[in-house]
Symmetry: C2
Subunit: 440 residues, 2 copies
Amino acid sequence: AVFGATAEKERVGYNILASIVHGGFAGDLYPVHPRLGEWQGLKVYPSLEEIPDTPDLAVIALSEGRTVEALARCGEKGVRAAVCLAGGFKETGEAGARLEAELAATARRYGIALVGPNTLGIINTGANLYVTFYPMRLTGGGVSLISQSGGMGLTMLYRAMEEGLGIAKFVVVGNRSVLDVADYLAWLEDDPQTKAVGLFLEGVNDARRLVELAGRINRTKPVVVYKAGESEGAAYAALTHTGSMVGSHRLYLDSCRQHGIYAVESAEAVVSALKALTTAPRPAGRRVAVVTHTAGPGIVILDRLSRAGAVFPPFAPATMEAIRGVMGENPPVVIKNPLDAAGAGLSPAVIGQLTRAVCADPSFDLVLVIFCLHANWPFPTAELAALAGEKPVVACYISTRAGMAKEQETLAAAGVPVYHSLEEAARGASALMWYARGES
Amino acid sequence: AVFGATAEKERVGYNILASIVHGGFAGDLYPVHPRLGEWQGLKVYPSLEEIPDTPDLAVIALSEGRTVEALARCGEKGVRAAVCLAGGFKETGEAGARLEAELAATARRYGIALVGPNTLGIINTGANLYVTFYPMRLTGGGVSLISQSGGMGLTMLYRAMEEGLGIAKFVVVGNRSVLDVADYLAWLEDDPQTKAVGLFLEGVNDARRLVELAGRINRTKPVVVYKAGESEGAAYAALTHTGSMVGSHRLYLDSCRQHGIYAVESAEAVVSALKALTTAPRPAGRRVAVVTHTAGPGIVILDRLSRAGAVFPPFAPATMEAIRGVMGENPPVVIKNPLDAAGAGLSPAVIGQLTRAVCADPSFDLVLVIFCLHANWPFPTAELAALAGEKPVVACYISTRAGMAKEQETLAAAGVPVYHSLEEAARGASALMWYARGES
């Protein structure tokens, strides 16, 4: 059942119906509106009571006051799950808090699993169920995202689309009147489609439960978290957003670390990390080799990964031999790690040979390859894809995003995450190092 | 004159000729090769001596040993500028250092302004002159980029292309055998096309001269710098790249600050900063207002800009009135800065009206507007473009890059920099605040 159906394209009720229809949901759909009659060929029910069946889910796109009433009627009819979209609850002050208490009590009375209120909704690609007022169609995959904010949820989602990541579940938590972040996380723990989880947090009530749960899940499915609210002003802003107390940022970071949860500094970094974690194998340690034809980016990567705990050991003697075998006995560069193949490395075949040699070197746990977009030198995509194996290879194709979009799919299929910026590549490699199997 | 002309598409000599031809250079072009005869319809001269004229510039795409010899012949003929592409000089050790000393002495003997060696080359869009082995065609504009590394230069250049920035000059400095970073910067100081400069540095010999010069230029043309080499390993990597001593990172940051130069933490941040600085007017101070329909991103922006010294004052009473006039007397949100218009803000017209009201409020020096890509709610592009005025407006359109690409041009023309991520928008706004006209 979808309350708030309307023919007006700019309204939330229209867009939530459009989203569900456009998303391809195969189950029965019951729009509710007292007078609308039909919506784009779909029968609209004048009231919940006239729906011949008991819907599994109620989607309530009504104002805050009417939301409470509609939820009660859902309870009466036996509906056991609801998504409440309206804001205007505890985030607005005392009157809103009273209304929200009423909403929560209603949900508890009838045993309704309540998403929101004040939420952008949820997506389950496995069921083609897009319960949001942002109509879209996602590629399915192993990444699930939970966000306390709609805008930050979209930030992660749009970035995931750009990075070519497939989505399992997407949840905007909103006010956590009944279901809290930990409940959604517990659901994802048991979800076979979910391989890794990204979280955006403002602040939660059950911080201890959340962190302990995330820490446990994290052992089998990486959980990457970005929490806003480090500044003082942000605390008040969060309170008036989803009624959240942000707590101490330092305490939060410490408890994440204690439970092995990977905490990052932006929504973009969540996605870059998830890309590496769902594409590449886990490294055995933090010993990194870099192969490139352009030294400057190697220096930048060295800076960034050093900060994340990477070490850059020298090549083993056999690897030095192999490199000389490719580049000649006296190449016009110093052979060292990061390896700058200079002019020779403009050939994708050479980059492939060098990367193969470095991957075979037991001194390294992770190999990072940097190549720049060029009109006549193709990317070493086939060469890197052929290297897929035990050891993670992370690629950085310095280019516009459009310039490397074609390569992304091939490399992802081969287990090589590719980034179009050093910054993102460093974030991906850092995430892999966080989840290294042991110390090197 | 272009030494190293060849018909082999994968070689540097081919690509540098292709780049110059493709770029549309209108002057005379003299490829040099002992036996080639012609190159895609262009006459190739067997030697420099047979060129009927004295070229203004020699482009030398030969091996390191032959480069020195070719430069001497250029000197004899009266050529007064040269770009030397080969690596294999002081970055490789003692023998290379001796060869480079010879190269520099040759240049000095004949008074040749020498770019490189070990460089990707230079671009001057004003003259359609693309002296690099990365053939491309750029949109002209006010941004000039100087990089000590080819790969980092391309990183900034590709990012600038994505962000819709027009380029004036692009220089990859390489080994600084004769011309150093400060020389290029001095050239840009007098270049009427250049409005702002981005610098990527590894390490220079004349650090004091560079910083003082950059500080002076910075008063009229913003200079944004990213310097690699904060880690210990990076120091050695830089030495074996362009023979640079990186020096103390802390000392570098302190002297930038002392001279008012804006130092950032990545190549991407250089471009985000330049985008704001060449698009928006300078703010009077650091008092920021945020207008959005999605509160979470407002909290994130508050965190990030607070770190950069922003303050978020409350709205003036008249502004509160105006906001209530747009949103109604009792909107289902707390009216405060950051302003979350919630459901009402999904309409571009409402975002436009609210932004206009906030822009008129003398409590603020900069207004940041956040809007999320949606299938049925268009971006408030026309509304924001209409607000162009004294006060900087920075837009963040949360979306894929492709999703907001069309809007970018319209907004840029109106003086509104638009970013597709909060992270980049925060970088843009932070740059504007750095260059604020006074303290608030």
